[in-house]
């Protein structure tokens, strides 16, 4: 087997240390190369409708009215109808509902009928795999969102049975990034200290394992290996030398003590977090980010500029102008249509805001971030073909991909049949995202493995 220069360095353990240098060498060899990045966008519930996101043929299509705010990014995107969520075993009706949907949406694996994902969500998986492959960034991945779930289940999982919650406070998010940002050319003293502290923690950790039972050893070994990984990540960013100036504060008029769960804050938070994601990508603080427009079931309202009719009390006990209540209103009504349209348009508008930022922010190679970032937008629930009553289904999920550079042939519509075995399975798009980051030897994600979707390349 012939080993590439990268393979040799990787085996020698030098690859992560020399990563920035290698990037430059690669750039000289084949022109400037931006790191490949991914961004996952998720919203609870969904449009609960067969409509959208677009209608027409592969190359001659129009965005549906509900998704019109994304019209300006039509040429940057690939739109999918009829996507099916494999690994989310909740049948064709609302048998298991949100618990399976939310935990399975981004993990493609969940225990039937429970709220227990049996593996990491796609964002965490890619971050972990990049790290294993030697691509170490100060932050393995970022997870931001507008609704910090109070419970222990949702779409985001670090590992099987280990749910994680998005950060919903932009001040806390910026505080978390600031230590890695410095433009005076010297190693950041805070990073030097962090490395020193983690080295000591690792020593302590290893010294404690000797008298433990096998169960205790396994538990502590997991902790020790995570200390080691973080220490390597910190070391890597010291070698790199951050070149970015930290902003004075997040881009928002909201104060640090604001109640970030209020609908009135949502537009500003989308803007603030868009900036932080762009900053992190541009400074190579991470290659993986995720943004949750809402948690599972999305029991909240959106800004007043998107008026929502009030739902009558549903079988879920919910009512009022919030998304979840309308998903439990079975049947047709003008108010239901108006509500679902408004929610979908707001999610589309917010997605467009994030894409705007990625398109106008340049990375260290002078290229728009959107060129190197593959953005996936998906949601929790689909719907059954021909029915508006069976609202909680894993078929007909509206999905969109944006960016990703020339490897993705854009401005196209994929017309799938979301209800049959031959439908496009969402996890294949996850594999395409994995491949986009350079992890080319991974063929599967979640409960099934049929490789990436080659159709994306045109």
């Amino acid at each position: 087997m012939k080993l590439s220069r990268r393979d040799i360095l990787k085996r020698a353990g030098l690859y992560s240390l020399l990563w920035p240098v290698m990037q430059m060498v690669d750039a000289r060899a084949g022109g400037p190369q931006s790191p490949k990045r991914v961004l996952v966008l998720f919203n609870g519930n969904g449009p609960i409708s067969q409509q959208g996101p677009a209608e027409g043929s592969e190359t001659n299509f129009e965005l549906h009215d509900w998704w019109q705010p994304l019209q300006r990014h039509k040429a940057d995107g690939v739109f999918f109808r009829g996507v099916h969520q494999a690994g989310v075993p909740f049948g064709t009706h609302n048998e298991y509902g949100h618990q399976s949907a939310a935990t399975g949406s981004l993990t493609a694996r969940t225990t039937e009928g429970t709220n227990n994902a049996t593996g990491p969500s796609i964002d965490q998986f890619i971050g972990q795999e990049l790290q294993k492959s030697g691509i170490i960034t100060p932050k393995r991945s970022l997870l931001y969102g507008l609704h910090d779930d109070s419970g222990n289940w949702g779409p985001w999982y670090e590992a099987a049975g280990e749910p994680i919650s998005p950060v919903n406070n932009p001040y806390a998010a910026l505080d978390d990034l600031s230590p890695y940002l410095s433009n005076d050319g010297k190693p950041n003293p805070a990073l030097l200290r962090k490395r020193l502290v983690l080295e000591q923690a690792y020593k302590d950790c290893k010294s404690m394992t000797s008298d433990l039972s096998a169960e205790g050893k396994e538990m502590l070994d997991f902790h020790c290996s995570n200390i080691e990984s973080l220490e390597k990540s910190v070391s890597s960013s010291i070698v790199t030398g951050p070149q970015c100036i930290p902003p004075a504060g997040p881009n928002t008029t909201l104060g640090p003590d604001e109640n970030f769960s209020q609908p009135s804050t949502r537009d500003e938070l989308v803007t603030a977090f868009s900036d932080l994601i762009a900053l992190s990508f541009a400074c190579d603080l991470t290659r993986v980010a995720a943004f949750s427009f809402s948690g599972p079931a999305a029991r909240f309202g959106i800004p007043e500029s998107y008026p929502i009719p009030s739902a009558p009390q549903a079988d879920s006990g919910d009512s009022g102008p919030q998304h979840h209540a309308w998903t439990h209103f079975y049947g047709q009504s003008d108010d239901k249509t108006a509500a679902l349209r408004a929610f979908t348009r707001w999610y589309a508008q917010s997605t467009a805001t994030i894409l705007d930022k990625l398109k106008t922010t340049m990375d260290a190679f002078g290229k728009p971030l959107l060129d190197s970032t593959l953005v996936l937008s998906t949601c929790e629930l689909g719907c059954d073909a021909g029915s508006q009553n069976d609202a909680h289904a894993n078929s007909n999920i509206p999905v969109m991909l944006f960016g990703g550079g020339d490897a993705i042939k854009k401005n196209r519509l994929f017309n799938g049949d979301g209800t049959t075995d031959s439908a496009l399975e969402l996890h294949r798009l996850f594999v395409s995202m994995i491949r986009h980051t350079g992890l080319t030897d991974i063929d599967s994600f979640g409960n099934a493995g049929s490789g990436p979707l080659d159709w994306l390349q045109g």
């Binding site: 609302n94 109070s150 200290r193 879920s316």
Partner: protein, 540 residues
């Protein structure tokens, strides 16, 4: 640094309605079980007990007199409604980062005060402080090599240029160390036994976190060092001292909060309409109200009060905002006072706003999560996950009350098994909104139907009640509830579930103590600590 308040240096349906598909919102009780390969019965100890967020917070206050907000730390993984199951708490990559970041923040707040208190201007001068701090933080005297490693941090090139920075580095290192983050319960082997014998320091930490929910003080560590804690009398002597300390209230509050499923404050995770008219201080006010109520019941009378009395009490502590929520007159203009509630509608801690909020969704009624909570936390029953095939929801019939609608939905086969148990106690809470306000009628002006019968496990007869006030009395009078509380205390004390055979005697002894109608909560603690197995750990 807004999360920190430096003082002077001193020392987580069936509740998912299960049966009707989805109704579950992310409620604290909806925790996932550990998956396949890592799932276990958690009846043994890994020998390590990671500090919970509450324990971390209290420990920092004991060590550095700093109030710290631990919300940034990862939540405990709840196993069957317990936050203290040590084998389930794994420390991931992000957890490591969070521990570092919070530790560094605490270190930055503490270092100037330490320098001021000690008057030190060079690192050798700080050696005495460092020695004492390591002992308190690691809950045992550090070995010579560990001490040397930590003292060397002061001189490390990356530790900083000033003494203040070097001290920050030292403190951050201590607070990031697994020696600090875990209570070790490793012990030494006992011949022909599956148990291991803990050393004095390990016993000290177990006692301290049980009774005080914080790290051992110097006197307890001294007792560990001189061997006193190896003997029952020595442990009893220290226990009496500890029960007399105000810190015992902190320990009791923590256990009761765990019993009531209060792992996070959910007072403000509610719909805007529900929160209308409330202040930003509502979560803190509600917490203080419940804490003072617990103190009043358990510590108000000489000799201490009973856990069951918490369910029965007609007195809740309130300030103006909480009194307003409870519809009570006579609120103090400043601070909290004990006010008597109208026991027709409200009684005991189960009707406290903080408890109702913890088990309610953002808006609307939450009878099933509340019923599930009663069954699991009060009766120690496990409500199974929803069946694989859930009957389709029928269209509600116009004119039905919410209860009638929900009863119709859950009457089908495959639903009624669980719902015959969790629905009646859940319906008792129908008159309360998600933050515990009493609403005399439903939106259509109809009176609530809160009648029900509690199916008590292992008992032939059901217990009738009308409303949550009567339900609370039924529960307070039930031996099943006191036995359940005793079982929870066992799990709380040992960080694991009871193992058939190995723990039967200890659990039965604890339940026997709980059976006495005169038994104060203190006696349960005495029973735990005086058990010969208290100084032992059961490993796999």
């Amino acid at each position: 640094m807004s999360r920190l308040r430096p003082w002077m240096i001193a020392s987580l349906f069936a509740g998912s309605l299960g049966c009707i598909g989805e109704i579950g919102s992310p409620l604290p009780g909806d925790e996932p079980e550990p998956p396949g390969s890592t799932a276990g019965d958690f009846t043994t100890s890994p020998g390590l007990r990671r500090l919970t967020r509450v324990e971390y917070k209290n420990t920092i206050k004991s060590l550095l007199a700093i109030d710290v907000d631990t919300d940034t730390l990862g939540k405990e993984l709840l196993i069957k409604g317990h936050s203290q199951i040590s084998g389930a708490q794994k420390t991931g990559y992000d957890d490591v980062d969070r521990y570092y970041e919070l530790g560094a923040e605490i270190a930055a707040a503490a270092a100037p005060a330490v320098l001021s208190e000690t008057g030190c201007s060079d690192s050798p001068c700080l050696e005495t402080f460092a020695d004492g701090f390591l002992t308190l933080a690691f809950r045992r005297e550090p070995s010579v090599s560990v001490k040397a490693e930590y003292m060397a941090l002061f001189a490390a090139p990356d530790a900083g240029e000033t003494l203040d920075e070097q001290l920050e580095t030292f403190l951050a290192a201590v607070l990031s160390s697994p020696h600090f983050l875990y209570r070790k319960e490793i012990g030494v082997p006992i011949a022909d036994s599956t148990f291991r014998e803990l050393d004095g320091y390990e016993v000290a930490a177990r006692m301290s976190y049980l009774v005080w929910q914080t790290t051992p003080d110097q006197e307890l560590l001294a007792a560990a060092k001189n061997g006193s804690l190896d003997l029952p009398n020595g442990r009893a002597e220290q226990l009496e001292r500890m029960l007399e300390s105000d810190l015992a209230r902190q320990g009791a509050r923590a256990f009761v909060f765990d019993w009531l499923g209060l792992f996070d404050n959910h007072m403000q995770d509610k719909a805007p309409l529900v929160l209308e008219g409330t202040s930003a201080e509502l979560p803190a006010n509600a917490t203080q109200s419940l804490e003072l109520t617990i103190d009043d019941v358990l510590f108000g009378a000489p000799g201490g009060g009973q856990l069951a009395e918490l369910l029965r009490t007609d007195g809740l502590y309130a300030n103006a905002e909480i009194a307003d929520l409870l519809l009570l007159d006579g609120a103090p203009t400043d601070g909290f006072e004990r006010l008597t509630v109208d026991t027709k509608h409200r009684r005991g801690v189960l009707t406290h706003p903080l408890v109702i909020a913890a088990h309610s969704k953002e808006g609307g009624a939450s009878p099933f999560p509340l019923g599930k909570f009663i069954y699991e936390n009060m009766l120690c029953e496990t409500i199974p996950p929803p069946p694989p095939s859930i009957p389709k929801v029928e269209e509600p019939t116009e004119g039905q009350t919410l209860r009638e609608e929900l009863e119709a939905i859950t009457s089908a086969d495959g639903c009624s098994g669980c719902h015959s148990r969790i629905s009646p106690p859940g319906f008792a809470f129908l008159p309360f909104d998600p933050i515990g306000r009493y609403l005399p009628t439903d939106k259509a002006g109809r009176p609530w139907d809160t009648k029900g019968e509690l199916i008590v496990p292992d008992q032939a007869e059901t217990a009738p009640f009308d409303g949550v006030s009567e339900l609370s009395v039924v529960l307070a009078d039930s031996q099943v509830v006191t036995h359940c509380a005793a079982k929870r205390l066992f799990r709380w004390s040992y960080g694991r579930f009871e193992q058939d055979g190995a723990d039967d005697e200890a659990v039965a002894a604890l339940q026997a103590v709980a059976d006495s109608s005169e038994t104060a909560a203190f006696e349960l603690i005495r029973a735990v600590v005086s058990d010969p197995k208290f100084s032992r750990v059961l490993v796999k």
